[in-house]
Amino acid sequence: MMTRYSFGGDEHLFVECDEAMSLDAFFKSLSMTNAIRDAGIKGVTEICPANASFQIKFDPDLIKPNDILKEVQGIESAAAKTEPVIKTRIIEIPVFYQDPWTHETLMRFRERHQDPTASDLEYAARVNGLADVDAFIRAHSGSPWFVSMVGFVAGLPFMYQMVERAKQLQVPKYLRPRTDTPKLTIGHGGCFSCIYSVRGAGGYQMFGITPMPIFDPEQSISYLRDFMVFFRPGDIVKFKPIKQDEYDHALGEVASGRFAPLIRDVTFDFRDFQKDMTGYNAKLEGALA
């Protein structure tokens, strides 16, 4: 894994931990961004972690670009020695796969799709060599996902599945991005799944929808009163397939303020995870039981 540094104009330092996505690259990025935050470097105004890379915004009136580069390079070697263990949380996200709303949307944009005769889920199952849609849903909801970046638009989580590379689900993005995506759609592009936090444009394949809001600028939703954005990098997500009646019920709970997401604090040790992914995931998911 080669770290590559570049400047984004005179206000950003761009750091690519690896060209390819992997949990190793994510953890390197996470430990570096944590160390940079702890170092409290003068002139740093924002630290934005992203999958296998990150970006720092700085004020060049307060710190010279080459000085911040040297500081961060110094932190790289120190961060390599930190233990890849994080205290985080696992969250169960209910998903109504094959719902009518994303289906209506995907039909509306069929001419922008690789396979106009299939649904996004049918296409995704086929390109991943899975027997059918049910098998795809089982794979998607069968193992947990790491939130490896929050962004694109307000509070949207990019998620990377915690399975061996050979089992990772990959799908191309739409040939041309859609101009519409229902709010809270579960999407997938490349090796990343996401939850669209707001309605708008999108290029990821659409698989389903969750009743659980993850961004609330009004902060009226009980679990978003402290902060309007739900996710943070390092969160672990487990999708739980639900049917329409459960979805409708959950929506009612959200509206009445009674919906409480299932969240548990967990510690994640990357080394132990690597030794036995299936076993480790089972233990993690045990926290949700």
């Binding site: 570049s6 005179d10 929050v150 962004g151 490349g190 990343f192 954005v229």
Partner: protein, 323 residues
């Protein structure tokens, strides 16, 4: 006191200097596209330089004032009228209760800033009054203003009536516009001939140009250095593993049409970027109209920092001229 919106214009939003600190969550800094124009507009009416103003693109709004205030309009050249009588731009104007501010057709530039003494007094959202429409956050109810809205105005500040920013201190893009770019980010992904053509070609602003990003057309498509795509990036050579997008960074989906990300940018995504427009030239982008011929001019870090210092000095001159 309030401002009654008689006509909203094309898209008029409340903007200040933005909300830094939340880009890591996908919430962009936002704020005025032309910050120098915003600062000048506020100075003219005696506000703090970062007070909230209205930013209007292409077509100005029609506004009625309910109390005596001082206003100023800076940025693009768009004839300004008070009760139908033309008024100078970049100048502090006195307004009587009941007077109506309106605008004629845009002459040059793209965006005007309208300041009012006391500032637009919408609630702070994450430390800023800027409107982020996609997230329905900030500004007036999280959206562009509409006919019938009544915009709250803060307690009036002072400011000298008739004060004006000297012409020489008003900064607008040239023709063709020149935007200075620091190559970097994924610059190495394109062939040397494309590195050359990117700066040699004349581009034009495409119709898709807004607060999130400005798209350009007309230059040669960029050719990529061959490689096997890294895992998770996607199969197109312009795809990368989704990463952060710096403000001002220039992504080129498919190698075809460069897009400069601006104040309401998406914070990240899966397209490679060739470099970044330097901070000193970001204000100019917001004043580009569709079809405006534009050249990207290569600059190094020392040049970028010198340009930044020049822009600071210009701002200081405006302050001195209005003190």
């Amino acid at each position: 006191m309030t401002i009654k919106v008689l006509h909203p214009g094309l898209s008029t939003t409340v903007q200040d200097l933005g909300r830094p600190g939340y880009f890591h969550l996908g919430i962009p800094v936002g704020g005025a596209m032309d910050r120098l124009a915003l600062r000048a507009a506020n100075m003219l009416v005696g506000n703090d330089e970062g007070a909230a103003c209205l930013e209007a693109v292409f077509i100005g709004p029609q506004l009625e004032f309910t109390a005596p205030v001082r206003i100023a309009v800076t940025g693009a050249e768009m004839p300004i009228k008070l009760d139908g009588v033309e008024q100078p731009g970049w100048t502090s104007l006195e307004v009587k209760p009941g007077q109506v501010l309106s605008f004629d057709y845009l002459k040059s530039g793209a965006r005007i800033i309208i300041s009012v003494s006391g500032g637009i007094d919408v609630p702070l959202a994450l430390g800023s009054r800027s409107t982020y429409p996609i997230g329905a956050l900030g500004g007036f109810k999280g959206r562009a203003i509409a006919a019938g809205d009544e915009l709250p105005v803060g307690t009036a500040a002072s400011g000298k009536a008739g004060a004006s920013v000297p012409e020489a201190l008003r900064r607008m893009p040239g023709h063709p516009a020149e935007l200075r770019v620091l190559p970097g980010l994924y610059w190495h992904r394109i062939l040397p001939e494309s590195q050359q053509s990117f700066f040699a070609d004349q581009w034009k602003v495409a119709p898709e140009a807004d607060r999130m990003g400005y798209r350009f057309r007309g230059g040669q498509a960029l050719k990529f250095v061959e490689r096997e795509q890294p895992f998770g990036a996607g199969s197109d050579p312009s795809n990368i593993v989704d990463s952060c997008y710096p403000y001002g960074s220039i992504q080129v989906p498919g190698g075809k049409e460069p897009i400069i990300l601006h104040r309401d940018a998406v914070s990240g995504g899966g397209y490679f970027m060739v470099g970044t427009v330097i901070s000193a030239d970001m204000d100019l982008i917001g004043q580009l109209q569709p079809n405006m011929p534009t050249r990207f001019v290569e600059i190094d870090m020392d040049g970028a920092l010198a340009a930044r210092a020049d822009r600071k000095a210009l701002l200081q001159k405006i302050r001195a001229a209005l003190a």
